[in-house]
Symmetry: C2
Subunit: 272 residues, 2 copies
């Protein structure tokens, strides 16, 4: 198809949900041919992490791909992509050490390496990522720029359940009680949104608000709430322009992340 | 030219000599269009190394490229290839830690990163490297395999001066006396060749012979003499099949490397 058709690529770890569907739909709108890869990447899980219990349901995912008119469902074998003698790794240095990278030391090296390999195999025109994994999308953008991949990266908005919980394959791992508690991430984001609209720009104050919301939810443990510049992901002290709030928490035994793009109320007014 | 002509690529750091010419001639024999890049890669030099005094003579190199019918001499600017916000690095792990990598910790990460970038820009059909930098060529082969570069790697034999010294841009940095002493590397390789032909296969014994040759040359300091399997570069104890001897030494203030592919005399006979 290469060179004849515009190729859209959605790299996934399977356990498809509406978040994946929105990426696929975007690819279908913009491209002539869609490739969805399904590969639960062992390199992006730490030794103590949930690789073994990560949700897998290949028959269901195959049916989903068929029903949603995926042109090519790419199912590489683990020992093809990560052979025992794999020696070459791609890392996006300082961006990978912060936030999720601080909690998960080899995580983004694993992501970047496998996405680079998939990009080299598929060589798409456009690749689609979800905003839910904001730091991941930022790292992929940087890798594409640094290694001159001839690929356009599109980041699609986070889809949410009715109660606001960001759609994620890992939500399936939550117990009934933890599932209810997991809305704490979204509630924290909304409260920050409101505080900023009310004129608060001090990140320290905004963070205090987040912490007090988490304190009322004993099933959830906040890992970090970080206000950052949206490209370098360096921490900021005041929301003076476009910024991103990155949030990570453990709910029961499941680690969840979410994020929000914010800008000060005055900037909203100026933008009108 | 891409897709229409077969593109040959010779990545270099300039200061062209006959070694480069032999790579170019091989590209001209096999390809329709030749790209030679000239980029003194800052990432492959350690902080205490000879980046600043590495030989540079752009007018001479331009004339050389013209005289030798290079189709495209690619002269990227340092801040285009290594911008201040470069974050992405390619490393070929265990192969890069041994031998030259042990003496030059970030060297091969710098090589692999820049060669990956040049490969992505040029996207050649065939790329040419010299056997003189044996470990480098091995690492590039591994990177190409691991990251699915659609590029064939050709490694061309080392060219030598009349007295056996391997051609290298760094030879220009040798003083008159050190230039004479530098043949010690070739003399060591030849003596190993002879010992193996005489039936010696014990690498410890062969190494003793190398050390005694270096002891007679006070201007030269042996860094390592390593008998290895030719692909993984892991040390071996006996030359029982195809093997490579890697040699590194400092002559005066200049670090030189050389190598020799060897196999036991019996294997030679069996091969006939």
């Amino acid at each position: 198809m290469r060179g004849k058709k515009k190729i859209g690529f959605v790299p996934t770890m399977g356990a498809f949900h509406e978040g994946h569907l929105s990426l696929l739909r975007a690819a279908q709108r913009a491209c002539d041919y869609q490739v969805v890869s399904l590969f639960v990447n062992p390199l992006q899980f730490g030794p103590e992490e949930d690789f073994d219990r990560y949700p897998r349901d290949l028959p269901r995912d195959r049916a989903w791909a068929l029903a949603n008119h995926v042109d090519l469902l790419f199912l590489p074998k683990a020992d093809e992509i990560v052979p025992v003698d794999l020696e070459t790794f791609v890392s996006v240095e300082s961006l990978s050490r912060r936030w999720e990278g601080a909690s998960r030391p080899q995580h983004f090296r694993g992501v970047a390496t496998i996405v680079a390999k998939l990009f080299q195999i598929v060589r798409p025109d456009i690749a689609y990522f979800g905003q839910k994994d904001y730091q991941q999308a930022t790292i992929i953008r940087q890798m594409v720029r640094d290694l001159y991949f001839d690929i356009k990266i599109k980041v699609m908005p986070t889809l949410r359940e009715k109660d606001g919980l960001a759609k994620s394959s890992r939500n399936a791992l939550l117990s009934h009680e933890d599932r209810a508690a997991a809305t704490v991430l979204y509630r924290a984001l909304c409260s920050v949104q409101q505080s900023i609209r009310a004129g608060t720009t001090d990140c320290h104050l905004l963070k205090k608000g987040i912490e007090s919301i988490f304190k009322k939810e004993p099933r959830a443990q906040l890992d970090y709430a970080a206000f950052c510049d949206p490209n370098r992901l360096e921490p900021i002290r005041h929301v003076t322009g476009q910024a991103v709030l990155l949030l990570a928490a453990k709910v029961g035994s499941v680690r969840l992340i979410d994020n929000l793009l914010v800008r000060p109320h005055s900037a909203w007014r100026n933008a009108r």
